[in-house]
């Protein structure tokens, strides 16, 4: 009779997940430059764009620069697709972010953003969803909002080229 192995202690699981997430956020200079931080609930990630004056595009309105909004959406999309890529190895313990390097980052093939409303000079939030993940290509949808979750100020879709992984053939 086989018995299910005892689940790992919660702090071990959290430590491993948070260490991996820190690698994705804190090791990328542009993410730091923009002032983006990430919250995690289980596997769900929410990115925050912490407002600062340098993010302004139109000083008269004032409004967040369209390039900042696009960057925030692309950062969130890359983070989500990287996270989805390592999740299984992270959970099984095959990948220990405290000792081993993370796989390389996916490369953006193309990115399309719709500007829906003015980005106000305050914090913004974003979540992404991987709609298709293969060995070589992934598709991601991402949405950003400010005060009201039901009134996004921008959304985007993006395609990524996945980094080569060990074993298996391309497909």
């Amino acid at each position: 009779m086989s018995r299910r192995p005892r689940p790992e202690p919660v702090q071990v699981v959290k430590q491993r997940r948070d260490a991996a997430l820190r690698r994705l956020v804190e090791h990328v200079p542009y993410v730091q430059f923009l002032g983006i931080t990430v919250d995690r609930r289980g596997d769900e990630l929410t990115a925050t764009l912490n407002f600062s004056d340098k993010l302004i595009g139109n000083p008269l309105l004032p409004a967040i620069h369209g390039g900042v909004t696009a960057s925030f959406l692309e950062v969130t999309a890359i983070m989500e697709v990287s996270w989805a890529m390592i999740w299984d190895d992270l959970e099984s313990g095959r990948l220990d972010p405290q000792t081993a390097d993370l796989p390389r980052l996916p490369k953006t093939i193309d990115f399309a953003v719709d500007y829906l409303r003015t980005g106000l000079p305050r914090d913004a939030y974003a979540r992404a969803r991987v709609t298709r993940q293969g060995r070589r290509y992934a598709s991601v949808q991402v949405e950003a909002w400010q005060d009201n979750r039901d009134r996004p100020f921008a959304h985007a879709s993006a395609r990524f080229l996945m980094p080569p992984r060990d074993g298996g053939s391309d497909g």
Binding site: V28, P29, G67, A70, V75
Partner: protein, 141 residues
């Protein structure tokens, strides 16, 4: 207002945008619906630390700024403009350490919508880094 004065005002306007300043953008050419903007190499913009390649988001910011400038400089000059949508193809990684230069053209404009296409490349290198198309609002004074 002559074209030199217009170009000088446009340069001041673009270089006064806080985020464009933060990225060190410089207006190189403007007029007739075409704008050329350069962005120097800056390690703060790195998106892939292993390869030292700048983040696609910084390229998007350059494309968006350059596209908006091109629209503003069109002879059917709108009083103001805002991006409706922007789509970018990333053809290759930007060369680490090299500046980027974007050239945007407002190739069609209606009473309500301006259509833009743009190319970003590293100076002296033939293969473009990224290409973009976008649409912008046409605000009437």
């Amino acid at each position: 207002m002559d074209s030199d004065t217009k170009a000088r005002i446009a340069r001041q306007f673009i270089e006064a945008i806080p985020f464009s300043r933060a990225l060190g953008m410089r207006l190189e050419e403007i007029g007739g619906g075409v704008a050329v903007i350069s962005m120097p190499w800056n390690p703060d913009l790195i998106g892939d630390p292993e390869r030292g390649v700048i983040h696609g988001g910084a390229v998007s910011a350059l494309m968006d700024t350059c596209g908006g400038a091109a629209v503003m400089s069109h002879p059917a000059a709108p009083a103001g403009t805002a991006t409706i949508d922007l789509r970018i193809d990333y053809m290759r990684a930007a060369t680490p350490g090299a500046p980027l230069i974007a050239r945007a053209e407002c190739h069609h404009i209606t009473r309500s919508v301006a259509f833009m296409r743009a190319v970003a490349s590293n100076p002296g290198e033939d293969a473009p880094v990224a290409m973009a198309t976008g649409t912008f609002t046409v605000e009437r004074a």
